[in-house]
Structure formats: structure tokens, C-alpha cells
């Protein structure tokens, strides 16, 4: 099995707020991330697919296809967007990096014609990233 990773970047804003909690609790739990005007990150997305190398093409997946799928399924809807306001997954869920990685996994898992999604990694900053592998 060979694992192939493609990287992409997108920039988005978000803030953390749970309407079920009081304003004080929101500030206590989420700290600076609770600022209602939001703040932003340059996210780095890494998508790793796993598979056997096709004997004729030498590919696990055509990188051009993977790039297009990532653009269509993820970047078009998230790059230069406000995650809370404009990305449907976060209408009732807090756009933490954990939930963002899960949302991206769910967007991609059935779209990779022939190849298999192994891992989605989302860097919020150089010092913080989240991995999901589709485990229940």
C-alpha cells in the first residue's frame, strides 16, 4: 500500500460560541475565541489517500483529480468564508479544528473515485493540527 498526501491552503474566519451556554460560560470555555466579531486562520489541509499503485498509470490516484475534488468539495465552500455563517456543517456545531477535520472527511470520503481516503489533517496553526481517520 502506498500513501499519497496532497496539501492545500485556505483562509477562513470563525468564532466559538455555544448558544446553550451563558455569555460568562462562553467566555470562560472559549476565551479569546469567543470574540463575536470572529478571527481568522490560514488553514493547511492535508488529504492522504491509500491504495495500491496502478500497474498501467503508476498512480495511486491521479493528483489532478485529487486537486480538483479538494477544490470542489472543500476549498470552494470554505476559502475566504466565515465558517459559522457560511458553511452549513457549522450552523449547529462549533467550528473547532476537530469539527472542521470531521466535516472535511465527510465531504471527501465518498468522492475519491477508486482511491481510499486514509487521513484528513487540518492545521489551524503550525503548532496545532487535527487528524481524522474515519474511526467511529
Amino acid at each position: 500500500m502506498v500513501y499519497l498526501t496532497r496539501r492545500a491552503e485556505f483562509s477562513a474566519s470563525h468564532f466559538y460560541h455555544n448558544p446553550k451556554l451563558s455569555p460568562e460560560e462562553n467566555r470562560r470555555v472559549f476565551g479569546k475565541c469567543n470574540n463575536p466579531h470572529g478571527h481568522g486562520h490560514n488553514y493547511t489541509l492535508e488529504v492522504t489517500v491509500a491504495g495500491e499503485v496502478d500497474a498501467r498509470s503508476g498512480f495511486v490516484i491521479d493528483l489532478k483529480d485529487l486537486k480538483e475534488i479538494m477544490a470542489r468539495e472543500v476549498l470552494d465552500g470554505m476559502d475566504h468564508r466565515h465558517l459559522n455563517e457560511e458553511v452549513p456543517e457549522f450552523s449547529d456545531r462549533i467550528p473547532t479544528t476537530e469539527n472542521l477535520a470531521i466535516a472535511i472527511w465527510n465531504r471527501l470520503v465518498d468522492k475519491l473515485r477508486g482511491a481510499k481516503l486514509y487521513r484528513v489533517r487540518v492545521y489551524e496553526t503550525d503548532d496545532l493540527f487535527v487528524d481524522v481517520y474515519g474511526e467511529a
Partner: protein
């Protein structure tokens, strides 16, 4: 869905690689420059990986402020600007980065209770890194359900 969150920290420390199990000459041969009796130092980059299902109310595996607070309280005071050889953990253990990975893994696993600690990864320099998962797997095997699609 289970998620794995990795947070990166840095500390600077010195060490000397020297084992009483070997002669002076063997120590020099085995550890080379790292056997210099005066020691030397590194800027270590530490990655700790915790896992779990994000909590519905917060969207988080655990609050990063709690993880950062734990590191500020339990890790940095011991390790930042320390001489690793002087620490209790390395009294009878050579402070290689292999052994540092094990020590940090056990400190996190034993004392940080707010999420499952999966793994420690340390970059000693840009050119080498070490990972330890307490004997467990470093990363999940491919999800069979996804793989079978």
C-alpha cells in the same frame, strides 16, 4: 468521529550521552560528540497527540487552555532550560531523545486526565525525530470500511 489533536511545544535543554555500562573509550566511540563531558544542548520540539470524540457542547476533544496549562505547570518547569542529566528521570537512564520521548509520554499519560494521550513526537533537530506511543500503534490502520468502498 474520533479525532486526534496534536499540539506543538518547545523547550531548550542540555544533555550528555554517557552510560556507566561502558568504558570511557566505548562511550566516546558510541556517542561521539554527544559524549563531550561538558554537555551540549538542543531546542526540542515536542508534539503531544490526544484523541477522543469532540464534545458536543464545545466541539473540542479537550480544552487547549487546559492542555497548555498542564504543560506550563507539569512539563516546562522541569524541562525548560534544564540539564536533562540532572533530572530524576535520567539519573540512571541515558537522556537520549528515545528515552526523553518515553519519559514525556508517561508524564502526559499519567497526569493529564482530560483526554487520551496517544503519542509523543520529538524533533531533537530538524534532521531527526522520535515517536513513542507507549508500545501502541503510532497511527491507525486504514479503515477497512472506507478501504472496501
Amino acid at each position: 468521529m474520533k479525532a486526534y489533536l496534536t499540539r506543538r511545544y518547545k523547550f531548550s535543554a542540555s544533555h550528555r550521552l554517557h552510560s556507566p555500562e561502558f568504558s570511557e573509550q566505548e562511550n566516546r566511540r558510541m556517542y561521539g560528540k554527544c559524549n563531550n563531558p561538558h554537555g551540549h544542548g538542543h531546542n526540542y520540539k515536542i508534539e503531544v497527540t490526544v484523541s477522543g470524540e469532540p464534545v458536543a457542547d464545545t466541539g473540542m476533544i479537550c480544552n487547549l487552555a487546559d492542555l497548555d496549562g498542564f504543560v506550563d505547570r507539569e512539563i516546562m518547569p522541569q524541562f525548560q532550560f534544564s540539564n536533562l542529566n540532572q533530572l530524576d528521570a535520567f539519573r540512571d537512564v541515558v537522556p537520549t531523545t528515545e528515552n526523553l520521548s518515553r519519559e514525556l509520554f508517561h508524564l502526559f499519560r499519567d497526569k493529564f486526565r482530560l483526554a487520551k494521550v496517544e503519542k509523543i513526537r520529538i524533533e531533537e533537530t530538524m534532521m531527526n525525530s522520535f515517536e513513542y506511543a507507549g508500545g501502541g500503534q503510532l497511527r491507525p490502520v486504514p479503515n477497512q470500511e472506507v478501504y472496501d468502498r
